[in-house]
Symmetry: C2
Subunit: 220 residues, 2 copies
């Protein structure tokens, strides 16, 4: 649960909030230099705390000791910062469930179990960027929004394909594939609302639990 | 999915967004007069569009043709508007699952089915206020936040009690009551992220589907 507060947080406060402690800062594209990556990590925390419209480029820059003018060298607008954050979050989430080792699991039950575990663990381990990916989506330009929507469709399709395969092989019950896949995604995504690193459950434990729930959803 | 946009929306745009079409405006306390209720309905749409920090009291007031000064007659601060919105949303959600007709259902399976349906339907029918209840919670003062946390605990407890009773009677499997109840809440709450009235599924259809998923989670 986020720390209660009424006023907008200062950049200094944002950088010290324990509930914003996660691994989002490890996800950035390797082609970006350390300053750009530091700006993105700062931006994730600012957006998660105050929202896109409640965050200024000055806030983002000041956490890493830069001026707003210096930020514009790397990102010509605040929306481009948000776009890079949301694009990266969605690409990494999609990568977490479409890696070769997962795709090579022959048994539909074990494939579903591994996929739901990985997707859940991704959202717990990177819950701050994952929250921005959900809550600030509407602040993107139409063009960027459409790009992200494409990544979301691809993610949905990975879930649907795994459920559909198990239905076809007869390992799963004859379920409504689209709606069951959506329910599985809901379990993974909803944790960004309440997960905090200082809680009692590890990402792996929540992943295993969600995988069990997913298997029950398709049980014959 | 919210309409993509980059700039903050004007109050006029906010009042016309089709994705903000829901029944939130029917939930307000009867003791409030029509102007106060109109302000709260306007506030829900403004917060859902631009976030608490991206909304001004001028925005809220102008949708109903008032000045910020007139708003302060009813609500002495923007935070008090948010508090009234979030408190009402949580109370009504709790009422939806704790009414006498629900509590009198003797069969644990039918009780769980009805509860999950009602909770889901509430979130679909009032998805705009429900979104504000989740996304803007951290903008409350500590005291107001603690009050809302109490309502959330009560809601959790209603879900846990229904699951626990079915486990005790042997109608349900011997599940981890807290985590299973949390997963059922996730299915209901997560729809505020994607539900729109113009979609193909009615609140009742989503309610029935989530109830089926909940029953699978406790199936022996």
């Amino acid at each position: 649960m986020a720390k209660p507060r009424q006023a907008r947080l200062t950049p200094q406060e944002v950088s010290e909030l324990p509930e914003l402690d996660d691994e989002s800062g490890t996800l950035w594209d390797d082609r970006l230099g350390p300053v750009a990556r530091g700006l993105l990590t700062s931006a994730v925390r600012c957006f998660a705390s105050n929202g896109f419209h409640g965050t200024t480029t000055r806030d983002i820059a000041s956490v890493v000791g830069l001026s707003p003018a210096a930020l514009y060298v790397y990102f010509p607008s605040k929306e481009l910062v948000l776009y890079e954050v949301i694009k990266t979050g969605h690409i990494r989430a999609l990568e977490s469930i479409s890696s070769a080792d997962l795709q090579s699991i022959a048994d539909p039950t074990e494939h579903l179990r591994a996929m739901v575990s990985r997707y859940t663990e991704f959202h717990a381990t990177h819950h701050v960027i994952a929250r921005v990916c959900q809550y600030d989506l509407a602040a993107l330009t139409s063009q960027h929004y459409d790009e992200i929507l494409q990544l979301r469709h691809e993610t949905n399709n990975v879930f649907r394909a795994v459920v559909a395969r198990g239905v076809e092989t007869g390992d799963f019950a004859d379920v409504d594939v689209k709606r069951v896949a959506r329910a599985m995604l809901s379990l993974g995504i909803d944790l960004v609302r309440w997960y905090r690193r200082e809680g009692v459950e590890t990402p792996e434990q929540i992943g295993q639990f969600n995988a069990e729930m997913a298997l029950k959803m398709v049980a014959k």
